[in-house]
Symmetry: C2
Subunit: 151 residues, 2 copies
Amino acid sequence: MVKPASKTRKTARAQPGKPGALDRLRDAGLRPTRQRVALAALLFDGHPHGRHVTAEMLFDEARRRGARVSLATVYNTLHQFTEAGLLRELVVDPGTSHFDTNMGDHHHLYFEDSGELRDVDAGGIAIKGLPPTPRGTEVASIDVIVRLRRR
Amino acid sequence: MVKPASKTRKTARAQPGKPGALDRLRDAGLRPTRQRVALAALLFDGHPHGRHVTAEMLFDEARRRGARVSLATVYNTLHQFTEAGLLRELVVDPGTSHFDTNMGDHHHLYFEDSGELRDVDAGGIAIKGLPPTPRGTEVASIDVIVRLRRR
DNA sequence: TCAATAGATTAGAATTATTCTAACTAAAGA
DNA sequence: TCTTTAGTTAGAATAATTCTAATCTATTGA
């Protein structure tokens, strides 16, 4: 028997070759619950260049698509995904955390007027002259944020 | 008549050659109210290398010294000082803003375990390979945060 | 197959961080 | 001095996030 194509598609299809939301969750050791699958699909499917969201943004988006999730669960899930290495938490803006689906080595442009956040690949960027890492510590990460304003 | 030396000193004395809290406020066009003078003294006097505070930290410190200030006023004042160019707001930690009295060009080391924040002079640091500034915008600032963890 | 158990997950409630605004205060002008 | 105006303060309100009790799900054993 052939599986019929679903009539209505609520989520964008995963990129060919990329794991779908379900596989991502399984690989990360997280139970693929209804809520997580819905959020993972919104975050990862159909966004080949990555995306930046706040908890509130993702919550609104999920609601608009008809997913039944609470805001608290969105927060919990974003943190679980971050711990699992699926997301990176960004702090650019006092008062809200942003989460970035791009896990590659990169930095950020932040447009202060609009709040837009854009990735800059770290490939071409070199930071010279940083002091040696203090004794007993290691570098967890280096964040570079270029803040832009309208001229 | 000669003004007698005060018996009890509640605040550290300003550095010789550096303006005291009162003058700083006047220069910035802010009324030197009781609350502001107390907070400015805590922030600037006796800290030649600058300091990093959160609103809560400064509030507690002010209270311990017997200053009558509300937490809301501490927040208001920190923002007024920031707008006046006396402070710089830092966002390193999701959930709290830090304010830095060092207005020179510098970056930060952030010790994730302890929450300590340390300045790194920008003098010796060069960032190469950043993309050109997008049309219609200018660089407001570049923040570099090196996040360190215990090894 | 089904029930019992343990552990994971969810979301309402609680907490924390911050902002807003009505009341107060100080400065400036008459 | 009195009045007016603008700046300032802090209690109350809001926004962002976390906590935890209740719920759900997977697993195990009968």
